[in-house]
């Protein structure tokens, strides 16, 4: 077996998976909706395992989140190509039993960029610095993107409450 080039101390993949699986799943639930998050989770970690020899050992969380975000984007593109795209968050609509449905529905209406920033911050719990490393921008820019996403979310919900 040829030994792949390792750029940092090679953490056994199982430990990498153990450390990142919960935040990645949380991110994907917010990014593509709970029902499709598991498929994207599988695609994310299979891709991570294939590319594991190129993992950036300094920013493992940003590295795996970058892959997860790409898989979420692929997922949305594949859905958009289908004849009858189903809004993946609508089945979580507000009901008395699910008072938080309005939050999920509003997250589903954000632009991809805003949703990614909000999901990295509030679902996956990343620091602004890690969000910057994931989105390829500065920490300050990441902070702005999260704030923009949050205010877009607020506007969406306020608008719906007005029309309700």
């Amino acid at each position: 077996m040829s030994r792949p080039e390792i750029t940092a101390d090679p953490v056994p993949f199982q430990r990498f998976l153990d450390q990142h699986r919960a935040p990645v799943l949380s991110f994907l639930r917010a990014a593509v909706g709970p029902s499709d998050a598991d498929d994207c989770f599988q695609e994310t970690f299979i891709a991570a395992l294939r590319a594991y020899h190129r993992m950036d050992g300094r920013h493992p969380r940003a590295w795996v989140m970058t892959i997860a975000r790409r898989k979420a984007i692929d997922h949305h593109r594949a859905r958009a190509r289908r004849p009858e795209p189903r809004a993946e968050f609508d089945d979580l609509g507000v009901t008395d039993e699910h008072p938080d449905g309005e939050v999920w529905a509003a997250v589903g209406r954000l632009s991809e960029a805003q949703r990614a920033a909000v999901a990295l911050r509030y679902a996956a719990g990343l620091s602004h610095r890690e969000i910057g490393a994931t989105l390829g921008c500065s920490e300050a820019a990441a902070r702005r993107r999260v704030a923009d996403g949050l205010s877009a979310l607020r506007q969406t919900i306020d608008r719906e409450e007005l029309t309700a």
């Binding site: 077996m1 030994r3 792949p4 390792i6 090679p10 953490v11 056994p12 993949f13 199982q14 430990r15 998976l17 153990d18 699986r21 919960a22 990645v24 799943l25 949380s26 639930r29 917010a30 598991d38 989770f41 599988q42 970690f45 299979i46 395992l49 294939r50 594991y52 020899h53 008072p99 938080d100 309005e102 939050v103 999920w104 509003a106 997250v107 909000v118 999901a119 509030y122 679902a123 719990g125 949050l150 979310l153 607020r154 919900i157 409450e161 309700a164």
Partner: protein, 205 residues
């Protein structure tokens, strides 16, 4: 309707996914194995002497870590020496776990397991371990005898050091190699374990 703030968003989106993620990652590991991406699979094994770690490549059993070794260190060494594509994959170790269980219960005298010798050095060290692998159950040899069978009768110290680095103990039975004069000598798993194994096999009283 309640308004929306960071706290509420965190509560809704940041709900605990630990249990669901653990299930999803178990499915991931099975898929990785089916797709040939699991270069090393490992599992733990309860033995009468503590918890051992077993690791196998697709070729076969590559490592047996005795209970005095730390799991994390074993995995880190495998990551550095073989591949970091290591996952917990008990099903790959099922044959080894079954045969070792039987061995520890005194119901098995030799192993029918595919072995991966990649952690065993070429040259004299490798010959020492291959000769050791041929020692039958309950039969012992001295370091000097093994050195001789490996082609260099005077290299009994080198033979001892090769045995001390045996990556697949028990299955490659380095516990059957003793000091001349019948003293048990060193063992990677500790001298008490060597004595326990030799007693199990009826090699000593």
């Amino acid at each position: 309707m309640s308004g929306i703030d960071a706290e509420r968003i965190t509560r809704v989106l940041g709900a605990d996914t630990a249990a669901a993620a653990a299930e999803a990652s178990a499915r991931l590991v099975e898929r990785a194995d089916r797709e040939g991406l699991a270069e090393i699979g490992y599992a733990t094994l309860e033995t009468p002497l503590g918890v051992a770690v077993l690791a196998a490549t697709r070729r076969g059993l590559v490592r047996v870590a005795l209970p005095n070794e730390r799991l994390e260190q074993v995995l880190e060494d495998l990551a550095a020496e073989v591949s970091p594509r290591i996952v917990e994959l008990p099903q790959r170790l099922d044959p080894a776990r079954r045969e070792l269980d039987q061995y520890f219960e005194g119901r098995r005298e030799h192993f029918d397991l595919a072995l991966d010798w990649r952690l065993i050095e070429a040259g004299f060290s490798g010959r020492v371990l291959r000769q050791t692998a041929r020692l039958p159950y309950g039969v012992t040899a001295s370091y000097g005898e093994i050195a001789q069978r490996a082609g260099n009768p005077r290299a009994y110290r080198a033979a001892g050091s090769a045995l001390g680095r045996n990556p697949i103990p028990i299955v490659v039975p380095c516990h059957r190699v003793l000091l001349s004069g019948g003293k048990l000598g060193n063992y990677g798993g500790g001298p008490e374990m060597k004595e326990w194994l030799l007693r199990l096999e009826g090699a000593i009283d």
